[in-house]
Amino acid sequence: MQIKKLQLVGFKTFADKTEIDFSEGITAVVGPNGSGKSNIADALLWVMGEQNPRLLRGNDSRDVIFAGSDKRKPMGMSEVRLTLDNSDQTLATDFKEITITRRIYRSGDSQYLINGGACRMKDIVDIFLDTGMGKGAYSFVSQNEIDAVLSSKAEDRRELFEEAA
């Protein structure tokens, strides 16, 4: 399974349509403080099904919608689309290529789509089950989160072992 691209519009500071292409190996994301690097990480977590706004540094699920700037009005919707190459069939789905889309509106309404077809949040989360990329997994380290791996209680660490088992 490989990530092919991530497309964002109206997501946090990514007001304008943005596309990020992934290839094999290591991609570095660089730039000044506050430019939007961690917001890209948030977009990935969000499109893969993160439901807890606190894990995206917000208080409300609508906090991910572009809230405006000095010169631009707030937007009414946030959308992130993730395109995956599943030709090695690692993911729990028959598709060779899979596009996951998530939207949220100011009203609080949400939409979830797999290859353009409406689905539930659960269907998206299930795709990543047992891949190491699922909820509580060890493949996502947010900013300032690495220390928590050690400061967590001994019992909390069991979750990592259960994900790997």
Partner: protein, 165 residues
């Protein structure tokens, strides 16, 4: 199941010893079940001994030693059960020059079979990536992304500054 958990525990423990010794250039580790008779409730204690030092409480470790230890533990899970994709947001921030080098060698090796998205301010980490996304904020509050394919003789700190303009 009990067997699956124990197999994971022993597997991850072996990798942890090896990867810790690689990142620390020596030393030793031990993972200990707090409650071996109750695998559904047990915690896992992490005991480490940096080279030449005594094993002490994790809390006494330095900022950089904790980050490196946590990184070794996460990579132990990845070694035991690979994930197709790994995201790391500024995990190299507390590391000194020598430790960053060892960290970079480690992710380079894992990147043969895993896609990495690494958010960083560190030139040594940037040098490990053949491809960069520079995130800028020319219009305040609005993120823009520029893709760079890195020529082999590029100087990361110059690009980092170029992004800041």
């Amino acid at each position: 199941t009990r067997d699956a958990f124990m197999q994971t525990f022993y597997g991850v423990s072996d990798h942890f010893s090896r990867i810790f010794q690689r990142l620390f250039n020596g030393g030793s580790t031990k993972l200990v079940l707090t409650n071996p008779d109750d695998l559904l409730e047990t915690g896992i204690d992490v005991i480490v001994q940096p080279p030449g030092k005594k094993a002490q409480s994790l809390s006494l470790l330095s900022g950089g030693e904790r980050a490196l230890t946590a990184t070794a533990l996460l990579f132990s899970f990845l070694a035991y059960k690979p994930s197709p994709f790994v995201l790391m947001d500024e995990v190299d921030a507390p590391l000194d020059g020598a430790n960053v080098e060892r960290f970079v060698q480690l992710i380079k090796e894992y990147s043969d079979n895993t896609q990495f998205l690494v958010i960083t301010h560190n030139p040594a980490t940037m040098e490990a990536a053949p491809r960069w996304y520079g995130v800028t904020m020319h219009d305040p509050g609005i993120s823009k992304v520029l893709a760079y394919t890195v020529p082999s003789e590029s100087i990361p700190s110059e690009i980092d500054e170029a992004i800041q303009l």
